[in-house]
Every structure is written in C-alpha cells, then in structure tokens.
C-alpha cells in the first residue's frame, strides 16, 4: 500500500483529494457512484443560518473550458443540515469540512459555533468569496480588515480549525492570505471562482438570471496555480488548492505549487468518478516514484531531492 496520508490542522486525510464545496452537495448523490469513505475529506455545500432559496434560473452556463454558476448559496439552513445532512455523512469514515456563509458576521458566528460541534465536522471553511449573493460573501473576501475581523470572530467560537477560502477577484491575493493568517486562520483554501458573465446569443442579455456568475473549471487553472504558488510561499499555514483540477496531473501541479491537499469542483460534473480517478492516478504516481506524498508539496519553488526530473 502506498502512503497517501496528509495531516492538516484538524484533518487526518487518507489522501489529499476532496470534492470542493458546492460541487458535491452533502455527498448523498455521489454516494451512488462510489464509497465516500475513500475520499480524503468532503467540503460540503455552503450553510447559512436560515434556509436559502438561491437565485432564479438559469443558474449555470458553459464557457470555453469552464462554466459559470450563480446558485446563490441555496441550502436548507443550519438546522436542517445538522439534523439531516451531517448525520447521513456520519455513516462514512471521512472528515467533513463545513462551508460557512452568511450575510453578516453574526450569521457566520452563528453557523460556525453550532456546526463546529457536529462530531464529523473536523474543520470549517469560511466562504468569504461567493460572487453570487448580494450581501455577505464577497465583501469580506476583498477587504483585508473585514476578512481579519470575520476570521477572528469565527475563530473565537469555533470548536475546530478554521480555513479561510480566498477569492481570486482581488488585486493582492498575498495580502488577503496574510490578513487571514494574522487573524488566526489555521489554513487557507483557494481559489473560489472568478467573476464572469455570458450573454445569450439570441437576446444579447446576460444568460444567467443573476447576470454575473462564478467562473470555474480548467480555464481558471493557470490563475489558481499562480495564486497558490505566491500565497503558499508567503504564509506558514497550509493551503488546500483548487481551480480546474480534473486529472491526477492537475492535482500534482497544485501540490508542486505549494498546496498540501487539493479539492475538485467542476470536474465532478464532467466525470462523476473524477475524485476516484484522481486518487488512483496519484497512488500510481506515489508508488512509481516511491515517495511520500508530502515530499512534493512546493516542488515548484524548492529542491525536491527524492523526485527525479523525469
């Protein structure tokens, strides 16, 4: 057996691969395709205090090598998630990272305080970067002081380590990362979607009912790689990387760029077995190269003696 184990604050991962928030619901649907216990972790859909209906449809559009979404944080609300969704996931041997969202700092604090008590929630992911809602979300993710304030508030109430999810729609991603780190974040997850828009060819109007949407998929991978590369060298907390990962090679790229673990979003839609295929690909790589998975983290900017430059 190859060793793919990764230790991160609050998280002992069997392997570094996990579905990204919003692309995997609360796991039920993909449980038909494979055993969820095989995943490193699961980042569940954003949770807000109250039930949210989200935006009007259409909510998704396809772009060249990517897609736009404007779901608008639809979710059944904190209570329903605690009662119905998390217990379902407790049947699997997999740590849950709860994605926390809200309109106000109080919303975040409320969700964080409660959801961090769920036995299978091993970490929180602060969604301060959702481009698809009018209030909350992105303003916390584009201002260093607001981000720091929110991070501190959540850290105070959370029973588990807190990861801050960074928005790529900023001038200074390193500054945002450092603000989160100084405010006590235990880790970073990045990147959320780029803000984008598609027009309907027939009407000329925006295709998504919400107008703007979040761009994800292979198209954004170069942006994500450079941000992970820059941020991972500027902070001393771990980074979980994401943005356009659909193969094991993509996952390796993120680890080379400095990510300690990797999340898979859009690729689940293209290929429901994406996470499994990536885990198997990584296993083969680790086995062939006869290395520890941790050895390759940051290879793009530091010598990596155990690995041949094949």
């Amino acid at each position: 057996m190859t060793n793919m184990h990764v230790s991160l604050p609050g998280l002992e991962l069997k392997n570094p691969i996990m579905p990204a928030s919003g692309c995997f619901g609360f796991g039920r649907e993909y449980a038909q395709f494979y055993d969820l216990s095989k995943l490193g972790a699961i980042m569940v859909k954003a949770v807000t205090p109250e039930m949210r209906r989200g935006n009007a449809t259409p909510r998704v559009a396809e772009t060249e090598s990517g897609m736009l979404n404007a779901i608008g944080l639809q979710n059944p609300g904190l209570e329903a998630v605690m009662e119905h969704e998390l217990p379902f996931l407790a049947d699997y041997d997999v740590p849950i990272i709860a994605n926390v969202a809200g309109k106000t700092p109080e919303d975040y604090v409320e969700v964080a305080a409660k959801i961090s008590q769920a036995p299978n929630v091993h970490a929180l992911e602060l969604n301060v970067s959702c481009p698809n809602v009018k209030e909350g979300g992105i303003q916390f993710g584009s201002d260093q002081e607001q981000l720091a304030m929110l991070t501190r508030a959540v850290k105070e109430v959370s029973e588990v380590p807190v990861y801050v999810k960074l928005s790529p729609n900023v001038t200074d991603i390193v500054g945002m990362a450092q603000a989160a780190e100084h405010a006590g974040a235990d880790g970073l997850t990045m990147i959320n979607t780029l803000i984008g828009m598609q027009l309907d060819r027939r009407t000329g109007k925006p295709l998504l009912a919400n107008g703007r949407g979040g761009l994800s998929g292979p198209a954004i991978k170069p942006v994500a790689i450079r941000m992970v590369y820059d941020v991972s060298q500027a902070v001393s907390i771990p980074v979980i990387g994401m943005g356009g990962v659909s193969t094991a090679e993509d996952a390796l790229d993120f680890m080379y760029a400095g990510a300690s673990a990797v999340a898979v979003g859009t690729a689940n839609f293209t290929n429901p077995m994406a996470c499994m295929d990536i885990i198997h690909g990584l296993e083969t790589f680790i086995h062939t190269e006869n290395i520890d998975i941790g050895d390759i983290v940051g290879r793009s900017y530091r010598a990596c003696e155990t690995l041949s430059s094949r």
Partner: protein
C-alpha cells in the same frame, strides 16, 4: 455510467436527428420520460430525454442547438458515448382509461415511449404534436395512438398551437412536454390534472449542484434532474 454504442444517427428534419444506441447494460423498459446525461467532450454534459428504450437498445431524438448537439450529430456508427442514466423521475403510466399526450417541438421525443407503454397497458391514447414547421416522429406515434399534427406555419396539419385543438378531446389525464410557455398554456387549458416534463440548464444532472431547481406549489423547491424532469401538473409553479 453507461457505455452506449452508436448504431445509427440520421436526420429526421433539417436540424432534428435520431440516434440509435446499444447499451451494454440492460435498461429494461421503465425509463419513460427519464433522460441520459451525455459527455460531449466539453465541461458540462448534455441532458437528452429517452425517446424509446427496450432492453439494450435506446433511441434519442435531438435538435441541433449548439456545440454539444452539433458534436452528437457528427458521431458515426460504432463510436461509443459515455452517459449517465437513466436519470430523473419519469412519467407514471396509467393502467387504463384515456390519455392525452401533448408534445411541442423537441419536447415530443420523450412522449414516444410513453405512448408505447400506455398503449401496451390498453390505455386509449390521443396525441397532439406541435411543430414550428417540419414534423417528425408522426408515423411512430401513429402506431400507438390517434395523432393530430399542429404547425405554427400551417404547412402540415392544423395551423396554430397545440392548445387550439386540445378542447376537442376528453381524457382522464394528460402527459405533456415542450417549451415552458406551451406547458403553461396546456396546464391552464387542460380539463384534468396531468404530468409536465420540465427543462432546465443543468450542472451535475444528479442532484448535487442545485443548478436546476424549480418552484413547487407548496413553497419549497424541487430539482429538475432528480425530482423531475416529470412533475404532477399541480405540483410545480411554471
């Protein structure tokens, strides 16, 4: 996941194509109104309704709209498609009585298997098929039902909309699929409750991403990909 081998792919009209597929897996006959989610080599899969299904053979009928359906239309016999499905929840099939099927445009294909299953249950089936101009699948429907063709330009059958001829028939329930405006009109005009098949842009197709929601009459929402695409006509807000 399904591996589907293309056995034929031919144009029914200038932009409507019928594709016959063979599945490794036995799909039975129960997927009336369900859909498959086809990998067309792009980021998102394309949802296409099952038109006919019987064991290992499957037929879909699609209109060329954009990149994905254009790609489908170029597939040759022998090529293998990757698809998810059958997905969703389809049309419940009555055991007896009279059924009215109302299809518009590219909403027509999923009603063919429905007509077949109803007819084999001994249900008396009437079908109204609405086209902009060029009809397709009319003969196939005629095998199982009494067919009435309506075209917007009057080039075939009655000139007008499907709702213009609905009043002429009596039925215990109806089954409809087509553009949202047509479904609204059909629901309003119908003299009984029935079933509507909805279309919505999809991400995952399996219920995980919440791209495809629609409002339910009770104030909650449903996912078209898993709770639908077929809903009871009173259940959803159009």
């Amino acid at each position: 996941m399904l591996s589907l081998e293309v056995t034929s792919n031919r144009f029914l009209t200038s932009d409507v194509v019928q594709m016959e597929l063979t599945s490794e897996q036995d799909l039975g006959r129960g997927s009336v109104g369900k859909f498959i989610h086809i990998d067309v080599g792009r980021t998102l899969r394309r949802p296409i309704s099952i038109c006919e299904v019987d064991g290992h053979s499957l037929t879909i009928v699609y209109r060329i709209e954009g990149t994905g359906t254009a790609w489908l239309s170029e597939r040759q016999s022998g090529e293998v498609l990757n698809a998810l499905g059958p997905l969703g929840s389809g049309y419940p099939i009555m055991k007896s009585g009279k059924a009215l099927l109302v299809g518009g445009g590219i909403g027509i294909p999923p009603l063919l298997q429905t007509a077949k299953e109803l007819a084999s249950n001994g249900v008396q089936v009437t079908t109204i098929l609405g086209f902009r101009s060029e009809p397709f699948l009319v003969e196939e429907f005629a095998t199982y039902s009494d067919v009435h063709v309506v075209t917007e330009d009057g080039s075939h059958g009655t000139k007008g909309f499907v709702t213009d001829v609905m009043d002429a028939f009596t039925y215990d329930t109806f089954y409809s699929c087509g553009p949202r405006a047509m479904l609204q009109a059909v629901k309003q005009r119908a003299t009984s409750p029935g079933y509507l098949s909805l279309e919505e842009r999809m991400g995952c197709g399996v219920g995980a991403c919440l791209a495809c929601v629609c409002d339910k009459a009770d104030g909650t929402y449903a996912k078209v990909c898993t709770d639908g695409p077929v809903f009871e006509s009173e259940e959803v807000v159009l």
